[in-house]
């Protein structure tokens, strides 16, 4: 391993980076989506979604031929095509970063800082994202390896501390709302939508790192974590009531009765939430800038970081409230998922068809 100015990302770093991006989704209401769709069989739906995501990813990765998406779009669609693809990805990630900033700020404001204005929290998120953006993808990847293990361990701690509250009878009936509901619950694929980022990272990979291996392993690890968390959530909170809570992991963290110095494990959830928020938002900003840089062949990406951060902040502040505009948020997220899976598949497919 050699250390040059541009830090390279290894397999493990890429895997854990993606794991953080995937698992952080379940800190939101994504578990509710599974539970609402499949009832007590929500954990089966998570396995199904992970399987589907893995299949789509394998197909995409096989078509990629170890090219990154920019190289592939250049080969497939020419220079103009590459720029258009780059702009789409950059814009999409930037909008997602802005939306995520707002969501995180709202929730942190509700659960941790009720007296603080969301603007202040947004600014703090922007500052953290700025540090991440300046550090670059290599550093973020390296950071994610250490952070990923700690975050997954923290999540495991919350789940383990909840053992006295588990009731195995809560998983019955085993098929929940039926096999049809389980199989049709493909909107859970949005959890793994960020896997397409491996196709942007390819030029930063160190020797021996493969996008296919990293992405697949990340999906498997995340699938296990998400399935286990969903399963244990259902064991804790019985089905009809399980859909009522907007932050399921916070709810089970609340339920922990420590009675030793601390009485609740909510601090663990705050740690998970805030850290994953910084990494996720930092990652989106980083990749948005990377996409822009690759599309327009910038010599120094640091010049545009400030602009991107301001745009992200603007997007975050343009919404009145994510809670009020839930439909818009849901629609945006579906569009993001569709583009995340569809765009790389399309680009790599065209490249393959053209035989380049």
């Amino acid at each position: 391993m050699s250390y040059t100015n541009v830090r390279k990302i290894g397999n493990k770093e890429a895997i854990w980076f993606l794991v953080i991006l995937f698992v952080s989704k379940i800190l939101f209401a994504d578990i509710n989506r599974y539970v609402g769709q499949s009832g007590t069989a929500a954990y089966i739906q998570t396995i199904w979604c992970a399987f589907l995501a893995a299949v789509i990813f394998i197909v995409t990765a096989t078509l990629s031929g170890e090219h990154d998406i920019f190289q592939a779009s250049y080969l497939a669609l020419g220079n103009v095509g590459m720029k258009i693809v780059g702009i789409i990805i950059s814009l999409m990630l930037l909008l997602n970063a802005g939306v995520m900033m707002r969501v995180y700020a709202e929730i942190i404001s509700s659960i941790a800082l009720p007296d603080a204005s969301e603007f202040f929290i947004l600014v703090a998120l922007v500052i953290a994202a700025a540090f991440a953006a300046f550090s670059g993808i290599g550093t973020l990847g390296a950071y994610s390896f250490a952070a990923g293990i700690v975050l997954v361990a923290t999540l495991s701690a919350i789940l383990i501390l909840n053992i006295p509250n588990y009731d195995l009878s809560n998983i019955y009936p085993v098929l929940g709302n039926g096999i049809g509901s389980i199989l049709s619950g493909v909107d859970g694929l949005s959890v793994y939508a960020d896997v397409f980022l491996v196709f942007l990272m390819a030029t930063h990979f160190s020797k021996g790192t493969s996008a296919k291996k990293a992405g697949l392993r990340a999906i498997i690890i995340s699938g296990v974590v998400i399935t286990a968390t969903t399963f244990l959530y259902i064991l804790t909170v019985p089905y009809p009531a399980a859909t009522e809570f907007s932050l399921p992991i916070l709810e089970i963290a609340f339920d922990v009765n420590l009675d030793v110095i601390f009485q609740r494990a909510e601090g663990l959830f705050l740690f998970l939430w805030i850290f994953s928020g910084f990494i996720v938002i930092g990652a989106y900003i980083c990749f948005s800038i990377l996409s822009f840089e690759r599309s327009f062949n910038l010599s120094d990406r640091r010049g545009v970081i400030g602009v991107f951060l301001l745009i992200g902040l603007g997007v975050a502040m343009s919404m009145e409230s994510v809670s009020l505009q839930r439909d818009l948020y849901a629609a945006f997220y579906m569009a993001f998922t569709a583009v995340s899976y569809g765009l790389p598949l399309a680009v790599f497919g065209i490249r393959k068809l053209r035989g380049r």
Binding site: S2, G10, L113, A142, F262, F278, I279
Partner: protein, 534 residues
């Protein structure tokens, strides 16, 4: 006297001094580069360069050398106090003045005659560079010039008074060697070489500072240390443009990568065993004359947290001590911040028993928790600083007084609550448990940042600062090695080693981020006695 009271007297002009602007005078010294064959020129130059006789400790002794029928004039220059008179008398003056009437061999030049047959000193340098010879006088050498010779002779006759080898001041251990470096570079290099008595140990000399000409030595094992690392160290050392380099800790600030980062990027140690261990791993050590701290590069944040004693304790004890140390590190950095966050933002987290006890303790205190904490921290810092400078006998008294004032009186006066004193005391004790003095300083600084962040935004503030702090640490490098390796980025080394110790016989692999020439320092099975059939 009464007359003097009423009669006017012109006042004496009061004395006043102002520093006048002055620039260095260039070209007043006669310039010479090579030793002249004329002794008077050499003598005049030596007197001018060394400001003789103004410089009271420079000694110039003229003498005559009889070489067959010729009587040659000569002189020796040395610094009184730095050089040993007995050595000069025995090795220079006695043979040159009294024994110079030996028969010269056929064809033997005067230079060879003096160098090979008269002067018995083991470290005799023959040089034509007069400046090098005379500059070396400032470091304890003596310079000998003989008429008609175009060379001068320099000899190492150092004999200045210095501290003997004693116990390291800042890195004491209970079990293990008690030798520590002192200010003499040769003593320090000798301590290293006698432990690592291998011919692969290289100590390259580098001179630092244009005027101070401080000697330093770059030490490494040539069969282990990565050549690019050694080259980088030499490159940085040779490309520092300063007049004076007075200690290794000054040098550290010149060659480290991020000056503004709170965390130090190299280890400064007073222990020879630690340096030897580092060299065996493939690191490079820099010894600087005049400083008992030896720098070790590269280093990682996990190396900072290890104590020299870890090598000497049995595995179960070292494991326990390492865990305690990790807890100390976390407490020293985060305890006040977490306390403030819970007191001000997250009261629902703590048990009701504790909550009411804290509330009762704080009810009479007029200040906010943050102000209370800052007052206590400031007092603690003042006591620490005063404790360093206070004379020995008064030190313990000051400690008692400080503790009484801070502990008892402040609580009785309701300036602070008892719980705050406990928090600050635990934090202070934990910071003393950190093995690296530089790292503990860094944590002292960062503790305030975390505390302010906690006071502003509770756990969110703490985690935000933690994210930025850890990101900066991951982003930093120490002589090419990422600072948080092998955790971030992940390398082949075992992660468990950074948090927990392992039995010494399980080691054997050098840290892979150092890219050593030989990645094993011992075989996989080092305890052959266990598996061999007798």
């Amino acid at each position: 006297m009464i007359r003097d009271l009423f009669l006017y007297k012109e006042p004496n002009e009061s004395y006043s001094f102002d520093i006048k602007t002055e620039r260095a005078e260039n070209g007043t010294l006669p310039s010479m580069t090579e030793v002249s064959t004329k002794i008077d020129e050499n003598l005049a130059y030596a007197k001018a360069l060394l400001s003789y006789p103004k410089n009271g400790d420079i000694v110039i002794r003229e003498f005559n050398v009889v070489v067959e029928e010729d009587t040659l004039r000569g002189f020796v220059v040395c610094a009184d106090g730095l050089s040993g008179s007995a050595m000069i008398n025995d090795n220079v003056l006695m043979p040159l003045m009294c024994l110079s009437d030996l028969e010269r061999n056929h064809g033997e030049s005067t230079e060879d005659y003096i160098c090979r047959r008269l002067i018995p000193h083991v470290r005799l340098n023959k040089k034509t560079d007069i400046n090098a010879l005379l500059e070396a006088v400032n470091f304890g050498d003596c310079a000998v010039f003989i008429d008609t010779l175009s060379v001068g002779f320099g000899m190492d006759v150092k004999a200045w008074a210095h501290r003997s080898i004693g116990e390291p001041q800042n890195e004491t251990v209970i079990q293990g060697p008690h030798e520590g470096f002192n200010e003499m570079i040769r003593n320090n290099t000798a301590l290293i070489r006698k432990t690592l008595n291998t011919s692969n140990l290289v100590m390259e000399n580098v001179t630092l500072g244009k005027t101070s000409k401080t000697y330093s030595a770059v030490c490494y094992l040539k069969n282990v240390a990565n050549s690019s690392l050694v080259d980088e160290v030499m490159y940085r050392l040779k490309n520092i443009d300063v007049e004076y380099m007075l200690s290794s800790l000054n040098l550290m600030q010149y060659i480290e990568e991020s000056t503004y980062l709170s965390i130090p990027q190299m280890v400064a140690t007073e222990r020879p065993d630690r340096v030897c261990n580092a060299l065996v791993e493939g690191r490079v050590a820099i010894v600087v004359n005049g400083s008992p701290q030896v720098l070790i590069v590269p280093t990682t944040i996990f190396d900072m947290a290890t104590s020299p004693e870890d090598m000497y304790l049995r595995f179960p004890y070292s494991l326990l001590v390492r865990i305690v140390r990790i807890a100390a590190i976390i407490l020293s950095l985060l305890a006040p911040a977490v306390f403030i966050a819970i007191m001000n933002f997250h009261q629902e987290l703590i048990l009701t028993d504790i909550l009411f006890a804290l509330s009762k303790a704080r009810s009479a205190v007029p200040f906010s928790s943050l102000v209370e904490l800052l007052l206590m921290e400031l007092s603690f810092e003042l006591i620490k600083e005063a404790g360093i400078r206070v004379p020995g006998p008064v030190g313990s008294t000051l400690g008692i007084v400080g503790g009484l004032i801070l502990g008892q009186a402040a609580v009785s006066a309701n300036i602070v609550s008892p719980i705050m004193i406990i928090v600050v005391a635990i934090t202070g004790i934990a910071s003393f448990a950190i093995p690296s003095y530089q790292l503990s300083f860094s944590f002292r600084f960062m503790r305030f940042v975390y505390t302010f962040a906690a006071a502003l935004a509770g756990f969110f503030g703490i985690f935000a600062v933690m994210f930025v702090d850890t990101l900066l640490i991951v982003n930093t490098k120490s002589f090419g090695a990422p600072y948080a390796v092998p955790l971030a980025p992940r390398t082949r080394s075992r992660i468990s080693n950074i948090f927990f110790t392992e039995p010494i016989w399980k080691g054997g692999k050098r840290p892979d981020y150092l890219e050593p020439k030989d990645d094993r320092d011992s075989p996989r099975i080092s305890r052959k006695w266990k598996y061999k059939k007798r």
